[in-house]
Subunit: 129 residues, 2 copies
DNA sequence: TCCTTATTGATAACCTTTACTATTAAGTAA
DNA sequence: TTACTTAATAGTAAAGGTTATCAATAAGGA
């Protein structure tokens, strides 16, 4: 069960890097389908998840909305607008070893954490007026 | 547009309190449908969200899995098992004003944060062997 | 060049949640 | 109590994002 290199996976990776930040699977698909019109959406999903497992890209799961995919960079946190659902990067020090602040793990094996701030983005604040 | 008290909402609230922690909408529905066999699932969803808005219960959004509903208690964090999807309480000090650690808000209006640890629960660790 | 099988394209299915709509019933006022 | 207004309900369909299925294709090694 060895991993094969396909042009589809290369194109998906390219598209994520081109979109830079917080692209949805559908946005990636729209880019890729331009050059490779008969690519399947399932292929895009499969490769996005594979690339995330391989550590080439980052997967940001957003409850209620579509998951986002980032080009791989440093660990960082996100903020989600409760009005429009968009996801933004947050400029804040990443908390290493946050797991150590847990008093009793009860045998749970921790492997990381997600921190998502909530609020209203500047754009949606304008609209409210 | 005033809010009316219905037996359905009371039953939904009762069920969440009975289940104590991290109940899914479907689990709540299963409890309620016992006593009130013709209740609609839509009614359960509608009331769970209303109760969450009213602050009577807490809604925990879980990406990929069904949302969970807690009886109202103190702010706390959660851990999700990557194998079985179950959600657990984490014994750790809640970080008040975590938003103040953000260097530049870029006009974003923060209203809170969710912190979700990831890992493998004791039960799923056993199964792996 | 052949062979094995991982990957693809196309489509259906999945699962949670929301939308729709005629009907029911909660609260208010007569 | 009775009548009235309309919020809430039951039942169902549909949305939305993602995964499953499977025959056909093609990547990489022999």
């Amino acid at each position: 069960m060895m991993k094969r290199n396909t042009i589809q996976r290369a194109m998906v990776l390219d598209a994520v890097n081109k979109l830079k930040c917080h692209a949805t699977a559908d946005e990636v698909y729209q880019i890729v389908v331009n050059e490779h019109p008969n690519i399947s959406k399932g292929t895009v999903y499969r490769n996005l998840n594979q690339l995330a497992e391989m550590g080439e890209i980052r997967k940001i799961e957003v409850p209620g909305n579509a998951d986002r995919f980032d080009h791989r960079c440093h660990d960082h946190y996100h903020a989600r607008c409760l009005k429009c659902g968009k996801v933004f990067d947050v400029e804040m020090e990443y908390i290493q070893n946050l797991e150590k602040q847990i008093k009793d793990s009860h045998g749970f094996q921790f492997s990381g954490h997600d921190l998502m701030f909530k609020g209203v983005c500047p754009n949606c604040q304008k609209k409210e007026k």
